[in-house]
């Protein structure tokens, strides 16, 4: 299995107005993901624990690209861009805490499945689907 492991490091998309796709499983371990322009799509799942997402205005971090990653721990971030859940399923196991400022985390489709805790602001713009713990069994 080929995968991309990021531990306490910075993954950045600094240029390009199009979409950059991470097409291998991506495991983020308390690292920072920065999108300065265009879209960065984490499109091949993976197992991640905590992270910071910094997304500039007009830029997008696509958390799934239609895939089904597992996230745990705490995720937060900054910027006037978008952290997008628009397809696929984010499995939150054993639990994931979202702590984003207003407007950053936008839920426009896809599933959150497991135990999700929100201590910041989550914005729903279309059909947001919530699964339960039994999905994970």
């Amino acid at each position: 299995m080929v995968y991309l492991l990021q531990q306490l490091c910075l993954l950045r998309k600094s240029g390009g107005s199009g979409t950059s796709i991470i097409g291998v499983p991506f495991d983020n371990s308390d690292g920072t993901i920065e999108v300065d322009s265009g879209t960065l799509s984490l499109a091949a799942g993976g197992t991640s624990a905590s992270g910071t997402f910094n997304v500039a205005a007009g830029a997008v971090l696509d958390l799934t690209g239609g895939s089904s990653p597992t996230w745990s721990g705490l995720v937060n971030g900054s910027g006037a861009g978008t952290v997008s859940l628009n397809s696929g399923t984010v499995a939150t196991s054993p639990s994931l805490t979202l702590d984003f400022p207003d407007g950053l985390f936008q839920w426009t489709g896809g599933w959150l499945s497991g135990t999700t805790i929100n201590s910041g602001v989550v914005t729903m713009l279309a059909r947001a689907r919530l699964g339960g713990w039994r999905v994970l069994q």
Partner: protein
Amino acid sequence: MAGGFYNSGLVRQTNAATLDIGVNYAHFENQAGGTYDLEGDGSIMNAPAYYTSFNNYGLLRKSAGSGTSTISAPLNNLNGSIEVDSGTLSLADSGSSSNGTFTVAAGAVLDLTGGSSSTWAGQVTAVAQASCR
């Protein structure tokens, strides 16, 4: 802590967006201090799942939209507050509730049943220009 979504911050459900509690046993908990804001005429549904619920310990608010937002998943209001600033908020899929505060602006409606059969206990308090039915 069982699975589900636990909100102690702010969830903004904008325009016609919907929340679908779409799997058996899934539930949404709006915790004390949390706000769930319907900023339009979107709804909360659970079809076709069973044993789902929306549990409100905090503030459930419909802040915008002149139409009807329907909660068609069982709503358990557990000492929470329900506020309707405009349009109609319909609690249309039963539930078992105890205590609560209802604040309904002039011209707005909180429909307690939407034709369903809910169970309430304790004390409920309506504030200001209420139009409850």
